[in-house]
């Protein structure tokens, strides 16, 4: 069934505006069968809009969208039985129990009773929800709700699962368990398209599309993306990061400089050359710093670099 490399989602020149807001502004990307594809972007980047269009619940303004061999723009209903979509907001019925929600969604997809019982038992066991089968969905914790939503999304064994920020508001342990389930699915050749604003989560994907203001910054494997970064990353930890940033941003060889956590991250053309220069610049001032080192770029760095136009070979 699965042919690695063959694309299951093909998006070309996708646009969608809400009034004057261009939520999706000329997006193109492909998702290959069997991969975990991450749609990464900050709040308001347009992730949900893309997911909704792919799921056939929102119309696009222009562009072409092919999902699981169906032209979604023209036949939005045809795609719905082959895929499943888990909205960003919990979409199950709070006054139905776990079992009732599963039975409802299984029924809508025409899943046989046997398949439903088999799949549900396996997924409930895998997520540790077996004990709570008769509990109302509204009485579940955030993590349990997301697991239930995922089970309902998987009950008809879709080829493609669209997950919009599945781990937002979920505790780290449940998040780990959810990812365990996602890897399990990948092993069964299910394609996963995950929208996320968590960059550490993005590193778990096989392929990433970085989205910013409805546009694609870059689309590649996480490790390739890191290599495409034009420059090297330095991390400076200081009690006064704002002043340090203002001071160093204009220094020679510094391409980008942003506040992150308790320090600043600088993108420089050549770390070996610039480190000593910047260190001596800092020493000429009152600014104190506890550490200054070269680090390997994270997705977050890529994002910042991408937004600043510092990703080589980025799509036009």
């Amino acid at each position: 069934m699965s042919h690695p490399g063959e694309s299951i989602v093909a998006v070309r020149g996708l646009r969608r505006s809400f009034g004057s807001t261009k939520a999706v502004d000329g997006l193109s990307f492909d998702v290959s069968r069997g991969e975990i594809f991450g749609l990464v972007g900050p709040d308001g980047a347009g992730k949900t809009t893309v997911m909704r269009i792919l799921a056939g619940v929102l119309t696009a303004d222009s562009g072409s969208v092919e999902v699981a061999g169906c032209d979604v723009r023209r036949y939005p209903e045809s795609v719905k039985s082959h895929i499943s979509y888990m909205p960003q907001r919990f979409g199950l019925y709070e006054n139905l129990s776990i079992d009732e929600n599963i039975a409802f969604y299984a029924g809508l997809f025409g899943v046989s009773r046997r398949q439903r019982e088999e799949v549900a038992a396996r997924l409930l066991a895998l997520t540790g929800l077996s004990r709570f089968r008769s509990r109302l969905a509204g009485k579940l914790s955030g993590g349990m709700k997301q697991k239930l939503a995922l089970i309902c999304a998987l009950i008809h064994e879709p080829q493609l699962v669209l997950l919009d920020e599945p781990t937002t508001g979920v505790d780290p342990i449940s998040r780990g368990e959810l990812w365990h389930l996602l890897y399990e699915l990948q092993a069964q050749a299910v394609t996963l398209l995950i929208a996320t604003a968590y960059l550490e989560e993005a590193e778990r994907c096989n392929e990433l599309a970085l989205i910013h203001q409805g546009r694609l910054l870059a689309c590649d494997k996480p490790e390739h993306l890191k290599r495409r970064m034009a420059g090297e990353v330095l991390r400076l930890v200081t009690p006064d990061p704002r002043s340090a940033r203002d001071y160093l941003a204009a220094a020679e060889g510094v391409r980008n400089c942003v506040l992150i956590g308790d320090g600043i991250r600088l993108v420089v053309d050549n770390a070996e050359l610039r480190m000593p220069e910047l260190r001596s610049l800092m020493l000429q001032t009152e600014l104190r710093f506890s550490s200054f080192e070269q680090v390997s770029p994270t997705i977050e760095d890529l994002f910042v670099a991408g937004a600043a136009g510092l990703l080589q070979g980025a799509p036009q």
Binding site: R52, V57, S84, P87, G91, N95, L96, E100
Partner: protein
């Protein structure tokens, strides 16, 4: 159309109602409360019309006439006035609906010419009541003059036992006692059914949009018609239950006669329910919020079915433009049918026209529902 998916939605909806005390309240208590509230509150009764009296003569004869008005159950004398201006002021202030002015030469005219007139000033802001007041006043005056005539003949030696030669007796058919409640109860039923029907469906759809379950639901292969029918079936059943509840209250609590057949009542109510439930879908599909849908549903059902259905204000007395509008108020036909069933006991044959029109509305609304229920969030 997939029957299994439709039934799944229907079953889920029943579970929601049973588990949510608020919807149970809406389903059972609201119709009950509305029937009681409106049944007692809406007063179309024309008895005890407040009457002011300005007696310019103050003779034995004029006082007798006025005592007749006082004794009639149609009037209550609320004020005895001393000037014409006071009478006008009393009308303006709404202290009375009618002011009766007896001329200074009342008994002289009666004795000399054998005829006279009294002046009745009527507050016609509510022309219904004004008309009734005039009719009743004429009736009282007619009986009084009849008596005068007989007295006169009696004094002339004619046998007293002649009795009145001719009397005018007004008979109101179908509602013999002109009982307020007999007219109000069918009308209130219409309002309650229109409102409950529209609220039930508009709330269930709007809630799904608001809570976010609709987005999940429309991402499945379910068809709009299946959602609509699945939600319609349980609320239709509930609506019929409410109709029965209202009818029982009408018959057993307010003692409204039930002269027609239950079958006709059920059929007409079913059609009206489809219209009411269907319009609830339309309101919620447009507003997508529970608050908005409730507001629109109340506005679109309560007012038209109260004002334009012909229950509180007779359609024949409305200005042409308004009368034209009433043809587009489905409640109008349901009122006609209910009055026909309860008060006249007529069968389906006599009610064919309003029933057919209701059926037509039911179809139109459902067609609109399927057209407007889209499976997209935008």
């Amino acid at each position: 159309m997939n029957a299994r998916r439709t039934l799944l939605v229907a079953r889920k909806e029943v579970t929601h109602v049973l588990r949510d005390p608020r919807s149970l309240f809406l389903v059972l208590l609201m119709p009950l409360a509305q029937m009681m509230f409106l049944g007692y509150g809406v007063n179309l009764d024309a008895k005890h019309i407040p009457l002011c009296i300005f007696d310019r003569e103050g003779s034995q004869a004029s006082r007798t006439l006025l005592s007749w008005f006082g004794a009639s159950e149609y009037f209550s004398v609320v004020n005895v006035l001393r000037t014409y201006d006071e009478s006008v002021a009393a009308l303006d202030a709404g202290r009375c609906r009618m002011a009766l002015v007896i001329p200074a030469d009342f008994s002289r005219e009666v004795n000399d010419k054998g005829k006279t007139s009294v002046q009745a000033l009527v507050d016609a802001t509510d022309d219904n009541h004004a008309n009734l007041a005039i009719v009743y006043a004429r009736a009282v005056l007619a009986t009084y003059s009849e008596k005068l005539r007989l007295d006169y003949l009696g004094r002339r030696g004619f046998a007293h036992q002649l009795g009145p030669i001719l009397t005018v007796e007004t008979r109101t058919w179908f509602n013999e006692e002109l009982e307020n409640r007999n007219l109000v109860v069918p009308g209130v039923m219409v309002i309650v059914m229109a409102m409950v029907g529209a609220l039930l469906t508009s709330l269930t759809i709007a809630r799904e949009w608001e809570v976010g379950t609709m987005e999940q639901l429309i991402s499945t292969p379910i068809k709009p018609m299946e959602i609509a029918l699945g939600k319609l079936i349980p609320y239709f059943a509930i609506g019929l239950l409410d109709t029965a509840l209202c009818a029982e209250i009408g018959v057993y609590w307010f003692n409204v006669p039930m002269r027609g057949s239950i079958v006709t009542l059920t059929l007409a109510s079913s059609l009206f329910l489809v219209v009411a439930l269907g319009s609830g879908f339309l309101y919620s599909a447009v507003t997508k919020s529970q608050f908005g849908a409730t507001l629109v549903a109340l506005l679109m059902t309560y007012m038209p079915s109260l004002l334009l259905s012909g229950f509180a204000f007779p359609i024949s007395q409305m200005p042409f433009a308004v009368r034209f509008v009433t043809y587009f108020v489905p409640a109008r036909y349901y009122v006609t049918i209910l009055k026909g069933i309860f008060l006249k006991g007529v069968g389906l044959k006599s009610l064919a026209v309003p029933t057919l029109v209701l059926g037509l509305y039911a179809i139109v609304v459902m067609v609109q529902v399927t057209a407007i229920l889209r499976k997209t969030v935008d």
